[in-house]
Symmetry: C2
Subunit: 151 residues, 2 copies
């Protein structure tokens, strides 16, 4: 049965306090504020465990590494800002899209990602932008691929 370790709590808290889905690396950095010695392997192990326990859910966007957020509302979508790369939840949904599939195919679910500019980045080169680059959720990946996938 599961134990309550400092590292697990720090990981859970880091995600609970974020206002958007976090990458494993972002979780590590946030959780290290509580547990300095925390290792990335422990983050991955706990993310996987917390997903299986139903506390977290993975957020997969096209060409992006998986992010993690608390399980909340069941069906929802995401928005990625083309400027700061951060990902936000979108609670609206276009509804049933089964009609879009080819003849003979059955559709039971869908993923939707919107792209554009988030509220912070829509504003002109305004000095009032308070978000720091390190908080952008950005990671590396060229335009063509990404990051990737492993299996």
């Amino acid at each position: 049965m599961e134990r309550n370790t400092r590292q697990r709590s720090a990981i859970r808290d880091a995600i609970a306090q974020a206002d958007r889905p976090l990458l494993p690396q972002e979780v590590l950095e946030a959780a290290q504020h509580d547990v300095p010695g925390l290792g990335i392997a422990t983050v991955y192990r706990n993310l996987k465990a917390l997903v299986q326990e139903g506390e977290l859910q993975p957020v997969n966007l096209p060409g992006e590494n998986p992010r993690f957020e608390l399980v909340g509302h069941q069906h929802h979508h995401h928005f990625q800002c083309r400027q700061c790369q951060r990902v936000f939840d979108v609670h609206a949904c276009p509804g049933d899209l089964g009609r879009l599939a080819p003849q003979g195919f059955t559709v039971d679910d869908h993923d939707l990602t919107l792209y554009g500019r988030c509220k912070d980045c829509v504003a002109p080169a305004d000095k009032s932008v308070k978000r720091k680059a390190s908080d952008s959720g950005t990671h590396n990946h060229a335009s063509t691929h990404t990051h990737r996938h492993r299996s």
Copy 2:
């Protein structure tokens, strides 16, 4: 300026003759029928070059490694079969989804992926299924994460 090598032609042909987006590994296997000694690095280099030249476009699905297809129809979406994992193009589109974004956000594009069963897999345990597993476009990846990418 670009040269016309046997390997580049084999790679281009493999994708042109496929009826769905292919993974780099699938491109390699198909192109090796023409050029047995072909290496995976050459496939990656050519895929990147062909994308930059505008001949190919990457197809990124959530939690999947990038696939590649010919540049054709501009805006379209994809369907992934939950059984055989293959990906198909969907030419229909729900239209403008800007209204779904939060207040203050601007939307200029979207990605949509439908999930369900493809025509071949909808049919019951019918012996007439002629597709072989190796043609399934499947690759490895657990449910939670996936591949990834690099930077």
